[in-house]
């Protein structure tokens, strides 16, 4: 029983998903969107609350179900990120999917994916990791194709599915090689096995690299990123927000846990593999490609998609700098960045959702003059964009600062330098949108007031904005939480 209590964050989401389905089955004809939204909101809120409660009351690390799952500070930290994004997206979806079909299916898919992501945060063996990834991925594919009569939506969903299938195959194949070499699937068991009987090093090394490849798919790291711009652009914006924030966070916690616990650098060095080097390459490629490709996009959503790839690159710096002397700090910095990123990136995508709701076109030009028509949310969007760029309008400034300083402290000044150059470039395309919002002359035929104010999207954007802004002056709770989580993971 107590084992189940430890899984409360995931169980809340899961029961909400089931509740949505049950409710929809019973009241087939008279399903109310308000109730669906309420179930999702309450479920994700309970998940956040229970995760924070468990973090405060829980002893550092507990493994359950025969070591298959682990509940520790880092799993709870990421549960908070994932459930917060789910909460924001659930609130915003209320207005967005109101005119659409299959609302109950939408919410159940969303919640099931979130449950899968929560499980990824707690996975403690390669099998569970794979199952959890699939539990997160399969609903995501369906969510991206939610507009099933829309060509763009189905096409991008199909691409996402195909690349996902390829990546899953690579991950599973890598896992089987690892199992072949070590005879174990549990993370700690694998590392012990490598330490005690280092054999079949080539087989094991290739297996590890393939597992990294599978994780790179989830974290949208180059060259496994190809699906992301297409999927984010084709999906409805709340789903883009969800996948680009929550799914990425889930991918990262799994990557952190597998690489740190199953394949510690000092252990795998015995087989001649320095995966930190591989991550360094991935980090540089991901940052650079993401930001450079974002620079020239005409489509705002696509720009945000590439910017989200660029941010994956920044977070990878934390893993890449692990061979230094500041392990806890670099991983903690990455975690902080993912947390703040969860809010500012979700907020930015939800702003796009709002614009889509108002029938604003997809390009930068179409956003001209929106600042004067909807000043409040435009201010929020400005906060998100500048915070994403690393300016002190929100916590994004501090997390990037800590991340780069930690990398420098760990001896990877060149990674920090490349990150800083990319940040400078990113200011260009973020500012372009700010300029469109505030500076450029407004488009005359855009009439917002006739469509009314979508309360749900507004509330979600404003919550995200408040958290983003407040995380600047009140940074220490976020930082302490992340450092505690990182500390548990490293030791």
């Amino acid at each position: 029983m107590s084992d189940l209590v430890l899984l409360l964050p995931q169980l809340c989401i899961l029961s909400a998903a089931l509740l949505v389905l049950i409710y929809n089955t019973i009241f087939r004809k008279s399903t109310k969107l308000t109730i669906l939204t309420l179930i999702a909101v309450v479920g994700s809120f309970c998940s956040i609350a229970s995760a924070i409660f468990l973090f405060i009351s829980q002893s550092p690390t507990v493994t359950i179900f025969g070591d298959q799952l682990v509940v520790d500070g880092s799993s709870l930290f990421f549960s908070v990120i994932i459930s917060s994004v789910t909460l924001l997206v659930s609130i915003a979806s209320y207005n967005y999917i109101k005119p659409l079909q299959n609302q109950a299916e939408y919410y159940s898919l969303l919640l099931l994916a979130a449950a899968g992501m929560g499980l990824m945060a707690s996975a403690n063996s390669l099998v569970i990791a794979f199952v959890a990834m699939e539990l997160a991925s399969l609903p995501s594919y369906a969510l991206v194709t939610y507009l099933k009569n829309n060509e763009g939506s189905t096409e991008s969903g199909l691409k996402y599915f195909l690349i996902g299938a390829l990546s899953s195959a690579i991950f599973v194949y890598g896992s089987s090689l690892i199992y072949g070499a070590t005879g174990s699937l549990g993370f700690t068991a694998i590392s012990e096995s490598i330490l005690n009987t280092p054999s079949l090093s080539g087989l094991l090394g290739i297996g590890i690299l393939m597992v990294i490849g599978g994780l790179a798919f989830k974290t949208t790291s180059v060259p496994f990123h190809f699906w992301a711009p297409d999927a984010y652009e084709g999906a409805i914006s709340p789903v883009s927000a969800f996948i680009s924030s929550a799914s990425k966070a889930a991918g990262f916690i799994l990557a952190f846990r597998i690489l740190i616990e199953a394949f510690p650098l000092d252990v795998v060095s015995s087989i001649g593999l320095d995966w930190a080097l591989a991550i360094q390459i991935l980090a540089v490629l991901t940052m650079t490609l993401g930001n450079f490709a974002a620079a020239l996009q005409e489509n705002v959503k696509r720009m945000l998609a590439y910017s989200s790839i660029g941010h994956a690159g920044y977070v990878l710096i934390g893993l890449a700098a692990l061979s230094g002397s500041q392990d806890t700090l670099v991983i903690g910095a990455s975690m902080m960045h993912l947390m703040i990123y969860g809010f500012m990136n979700t907020g930015a995508f939800l702003f796009i959702a709002l614009a889509e709701h108002w029938n604003v076109g997809p390009t930068f030009k179409d956003y001209r003059g929106l600042g004067s028509k909807a000043p409040l949310v435009s201010i929020a969007m400005t906060v998100f964009l500048f915070s994403l760029a690393g300016l002190p309008t929100g916590g994004g400034f501090l997390t990037k600062y800590v991340l780069f300083m930690a990398a420098v402290g760990a001896g990877f000044w060149w990674l920090a330098a490349i990150g800083a150059i990319n940040s400078a470039l990113s200011l260009y395309f973020y500012t372009r949108l700010v300029k469109s919002l505030w500076v450029d002359p407004p488009i005359s035929d855009l009439n917002i007031s006739s469509k009314g104010i979508p309360v749900g999207i507004y509330v979600a954007i404003l919550i995200a904005a408040v958290v983003t802004i407040l995380s600047l002056p009140f940074f220490s709770p976020f930082a302490d939480f992340a450092m505690a989580a990182a500390n548990i993971l490293i030791s």
């Binding site: 690299l209 080097l277 490709a293």
Partner: protein, 673 residues
């Protein structure tokens, strides 16, 4: 509620007035009576009353020296805002708030009654000016001083250029801004140097930089590779750069005469209590630092003495009433610098105080005359205004006699003490000060000359223009400040009547005692000890009576000489000795010794070369680099963007190639092949 709780209100009241005038003036102009003068008057009255209430507190030995707001912690030092209330700053607060208040009242007559436009901007500027100066006065560290020093400069730019649609005011404003800014560069370097060398910019307390500098010199160790006293001299001279710019000392005095293009009440504020006073106040504020370096003190004294004489001579030939006053201001601040450089700390403060009063009086009087003259400031068009403007005349006379240093007006006591102290220390073993004394004494003669010329041309004789025959009438708001300042010009000397004390055999140096009630490292007595032991200043204890009689005689003879030249009821410049025997001198004086000309020449020569070079460097290298970088980045991003073809088969191919490449590289590195 402690006695010092209201300190913050002294600068904050004018700041509030500034905000109120700015926003109410913009959004609801009709809600503000008198175009914003009333909030300003109320705020300054409040500041004045609070400043007055500080005097008994300070006199009974209470001080305030605390950090109020810490805005940055630095490995070397904490950067903070804080207040320092000691006898010096308390006295200055009273002077500044009183004169600013009177200037506001005077402005009602000078600006509102004349139906000037843009008065919200005017009063907002005046309020911000007062706020900046009051904050500067109560600063407890050099960095905060610098910040408000700059803000004072900015406000004077706003106000001098108030009539920005005309030709001359914007130019004068810019000139004032640029010239003072030139000095401020040195000041800024000085601030940084103080922070780096001493680790604190505090004025007072055991960890203040003057105290640290003193113990560094006493310890005999080197600081950052240099002898501490050398550091003190270098930093002192750097800070002096800002002082010379703001207090209009040679050679950076050229902005002040042009600054009279602003409204006359603004000139009164600039000359008497804010902008120009800020410079010398800074020297007095860190006097414990300057006292450690005989070189710096000598330079201050010589610059001051030379400026006193130079500016006075230029004042003798000017046609504009306000220009005469402007040069007299430069000259009088020269005296204050002379006193401070010669070790006469009390004399310097004394003259700063009395000058603030009589110069504000003279400028407000000049404002009254200019209104009466229908905005004509040329003295050669005046004459005979004595009968028409009796109140203005008598007040102006009081101010002029104070300026010329005639017994028993305020300026007599203070100027005499300046000269006495200079003579004392000059005779007492620092002969270089005797040069400063000579300058100062000759300047007394010249001052008497131009003062009498100014009064005579303006008020005496017969009217020389239609305007002078039918002057505009004046209202109470013009006369009230004149009367207040006129009585103070007569009485303010009473705070330190040293010669009278010597005659009567009693101690009348109240100001000296007042400044001695300061915290231990800020007293006049302490400064005296410092100049004695570090700069070798020893007083010769020359008789103050003889000195007073001497300077009085010189002043009177200067006036007599002017009387001889201009006594006729219809005096003309061409009829005087100038045009005949001293034509060359006259021309040189009219051109202000060609100071502006040579400075312009230097500026244009260096500027053109430097600007061309900077332009090429910027266009070709800096901009070129940035442009090249961004165009390269954008073309790179264009090619990166093309990787995303949209065909899922391509994605799968690239993904697989990427994975195989990684596997291959690491297989090679790991030796698995």
């Amino acid at each position: 509620m402690g006695p010092f709780d209201l300190i913050a209100a002294i600068p904050l009241l004018p700041l509030t007035a500034f905000l109120v005038i700015l926003f109410a003036g913009h959004f609801t102009p009709s809600a503000l009576p008198k175009c914003g003068a009333i909030p300003g008057i109320l705020a300054l009255s409040g500041s004045f009353i609070i400043s007055l209430s500080l005097l008994p507190l300070v006199y009974s030995g209470n001080f305030f020296n605390n950090s109020i707001y810490l805005w940055a912690t630095w490995s070397i030092s904490d950067l903070h805002f804080g207040f320092l209330i000691d006898p010096l700053s308390a006295l200055m607060l009273v002077v500044v708030s009183l004169i600013a208040l009177l200037v506001f009242i005077h402005s009602l007559g000078y600006m509102n009654d004349q139906n000037e436009q843009g008065l919200f901007r005017y009063y907002a500027g005046l309020s911000l000016f007062s706020f900046s100066m009051l904050s500067f006065v109560i600063s407890d560290n050099l960095l905060m001083s610098f910040i408000f020093f700059e803000l004072v400069g900015f406000c004077s730019w706003v106000l001098i250029g108030f009539w920005f649609r005309e030709d001359a005011p914007p130019k004068a404003a810019t000139k004032a801004f640029l010239v003072t800014r030139f000095g401020d560069y040195f000041f800024l370097i000085g601030v940084v140097a103080v922070l780096v060398i001493f680790g604190t910019a505090n004025f007072a307390g055991p960890n203040s930089f003057p105290v640290l500098a003193k113990s560094a010199i006493l310890s005999g160790q080197t600081l950052n590779g240099l002898d501490p006293q050398t550091w003190v001299t270098i930093i002192g001279l750097l800070i002096l750069g800002g002082v010379i710019g703001k207090s209009a000392q040679f050679p950076l005095h050229t902005w002040l005469p042009d600054a009279m293009e602003g409204p006359t009440p603004v000139s009164a504020l600039i000359h008497a209590a804010t902008m120009v006073a800020a410079g010398v106040y800074l020297v007095a504020r860190i006097y414990g630092f300057y006292a450690l370096s005989p070189t710096t003190l000598a330079i201050i004294a010589l610059v001051g003495g030379f400026t006193a004489l130079l500016a006075a001579t230029m004042a003798t030939v000017k046609h504009e009433l306000k220009q005469v006053l402007a040069y007299s201001t430069i000259s009088q601040y020269g005296y204050i610098m002379l006193a401070l450089g010669a070790g006469g700390y009390v004399a310097g403060i004394f003259h700063l105080t009395t000058h603030a009063i009589f110069k504000a009086l003279l400028f407000l009087g000049a404002g009254a005359v200019i209104i009466a003259m229908h905005h004509d400031g040329d003295m050669w068009n005046m004459g005979g205004l004595r009968e028409k403007l009796p109140v203005t005349y008598w007040c102006f006379i009081f101010g002029s006699l104070a300026l010329a240093g005639i017994f028993p007006f305020a300026g007599f006591w203070s100027k005499d003490e300046v000269l006495l102290e200079t003579l004392n220390y000059g005779l007492g073993g620092s002969p270089i000060l005797l040069i400063g004394y000579a300058f100062g004494l000759i300047a007394v003669f010249v001052t008497g000359f131009y003062t009498f010329r100014m009064i005579h041309l303006t008020f005496h004789g017969s009217p020389r223009s239609q305007a002078a025959r039918e002057p505009h009438s004046l209202r109470w708001n013009i006369k009230l400040p004149l009367v207040v300042l006129g009585s103070l010009s007569l009485l303010a000397g009473a705070i330190n009547m040293v010669p009278l004390g010597e005659i009567l055999g009693i101690d009348l140096s109240y100001l000296h005692h007042w400044l001695d009630t300061a915290p231990s490292n800020l007293t006049a007595h302490h400064y005296h000890e410092l100049t004695e032991s570090f700069s070798g200043y020893h007083s010769a204890y020359f008789s103050s009576i003889i000195s007073a009689i001497l300077s009085l005689a010189v002043a009177v003879s200067g006036m007599a000489f002017a009387w001889k030249l201009y006594q006729s009821p219809n005096p003309t410049e061409s009829g005087t000795v100038y045009s005949t025997r001293f034509n060359t001198i006259y021309r040189i004086l009219m051109h202000n010794y060609y100071q502006d000309d040579y400075q312009l020449m230097i500026a244009s020569l260096t500027r053109n070369k430097l600007a061309t070079f900077a332009n090429i460097f910027d266009q070709k290298y800096l901009d070129g680099l940035v442009n090249e970088l961004s165009s390269k980045s954008l073309s790179l991003s264009n090619s990166i963007r093309r990787i995303q073809t949209g065909a899922v088969t391509n994605y799968a191919l690239l993904l697989s190639i990427g994975l195989v490449l990684i596997l291959f590289i690491f297989a090679l590195l790991g030796g698995w092949l």
